[in-house]
Symmetry: C2
Subunit: 261 residues, 2 copies
DNA sequence: AACCTAGTTTCAACTATTGAAACAGCAGCG
DNA sequence: CGCTGCTGTTTCAATAGTTGAAACTAGGTT
């Protein structure tokens, strides 16, 4: 389940795709090669295959590769069928209007937090530029609450993949301190980000759980230390938890979703 | 280049992924098998591999597969790096405000039209539910203008893949009539959709071209026969062409783009 | 012209993929 | 209670695809 750990040719090819995506900008063959474990001709064939499959796009003028448009089509289907986003939308609208702070919706992707929506309360923002972003699981509010409700076997696998990079003085930098924090989250039913990822940024987060207690995703309200304190944000917990329950309820009853016009 | 036509294991696995996405709803293994050319165990292993790669998501309760969240992350990168969407955004804003009709931005994905943006002029809509949608190339305004500027070799490959399904009485249903139409488009520099895809829906479309004349994408303004005629819409041609040129110019000068916060 | 560097092709050794067949899990049913 | 039919999973030998060292080509540089 550690993804790259042996899935035959397909897994290797997808690892290359991830690698290209991770650059964040179009890259030349040589750049990929430099970061790759594969020998030159092997990598070359992967890149070729991915390109003529439309998973990578090649710019002949600049001789660069970037993730291809086919992914956008596939993600459209993923978005509608495998994420909470379409279900959560109306609930986020309501929550966002109520709290007048930035609201996030996230799910776990492997060992990372994947943001599905960001509501700035001010203006409704465009999706793709926000949706699809990833962040660390061990030092974000949404990440920690999802981990808190993850079963042990999988949790261990995920923790093993965390970098525990110290973003701020308050970042938890060990598996032990993280585990303690996760226990505390389960005990109170919600979690915080106390400037662990970015200085001055705090948030309160709640998990979205199935009936069986499996985490489907998480919800958070973010603010700054200028305007808010953790104590102050704690008042939002009941509202957030109710929203999370509503979303979970809709998710359980919404298995069939069709394309909208 | 016909995508599924021999790209080894990787190509076959991606074909399975496409297949699952095409269902439009979560599917059971048996449903995929029924539509698949692969024997049962082979398909089974593909599905397994894709699932534990995060390209497919498995719902254990319902025993169904759907496109996985990893695609959302990858599409984020594709969106930012390989599509015109981020570049075109400000230009579409301006155009949309000016014409007060629905504006589309599209690119070609293999032999299909992939819509990247839809501006309803009324309210700014959310992205992912619109972006990623596909449509036929032979009977949409954006599709035809892109085909009109596609080089012969690739054009023939694409035309061979069109279904030429007759959506309306006015749909072009043969390669010959389409080719004539494409010549007409090049002659005048823009194209129409004269109720060829949906009755009552008309549009004017222009290509977004590189300096060398290669089509990067297309732009269209859509209206209904209630409110507009093709003659009336033709007046928008200069404005559309200017917008397309502006986008193409920005695209040529914007090779480096970074993540926004 | 000689010399790099970046990208592409070749080809024999090797390994993964393939799919018929057989197996397991689980309904409903006689 | 065991039979039957259906769906999903595993086995394993034949096969076919993957692999990567090495050699090659194309551009640019000294």
């Amino acid at each position: 389940m550690s993804r790259d750990h042996e899935d035959g040719t397909v897994g290797k090819a997808l690892a290359v795709l991830d690698q290209v995506a991770a650059f964040g900008h179009p890259v030349r063959f040589g750049e990929i090669l430099a970061q790759s474990a594969f020998p030159k001709p092997t990598l070359y064939r992967f890149v070729q295959t991915l390109t003529n499959q439309g998973m990578l796009a090649y710019n002949p003028d600049r001789q660069t590769y970037s993730p291809g448009v086919r992914l956008v089509r596939l993600a459209h289907a993923a978005w509608a069928q495998s994420t909470l986003a379409p279900i959560a939308r109306p609930h986020l609208d309501a929550l966002s209007a109520e709290v007048c702070e930035t609201v996030h919706l996230a799910q776990l992707d492997n060992a990372q937090v994947l943001y599905l929506e960001k509501r700035n309360a001010v203006q409704p923002v465009q999706m793709f530029s926000q949706a699809g972003k990833v962040g660390p699981a061990y030092c974000t509010g949404v990440g920690k609450v999802m981990l808190a409700y993850t079963e042990d076997a999988q949790l261990n696998r995920i923790i093993a993949q965390q970098s525990f990079h110290q973003f701020t003085p308050k970042t938890l930098t060990s598996a032990e301190s993280l585990m303690e924090e996760l226990d505390a989250i389960v005990a109170r039913g919600y979690g915080f980000d106390d400037e662990e990822h970015e200085p001055g940024i705090i948030c309160i987060a709640v998990p979205i759980l199935t009936e069986k207690g499996r985490p489907l995703g998480a919800l958070s309200v973010t603010s700054t230390t200028d305007r808010q304190t953790l104590k102050g944000m704690e008042k939002l917990a009941p509202l957030l938890q109710q929203t999370a329950r509503d979303i979970a309820y809709d998710a359980a009853n919404w298995h069939i979703r069709d394309e909208d016009s």
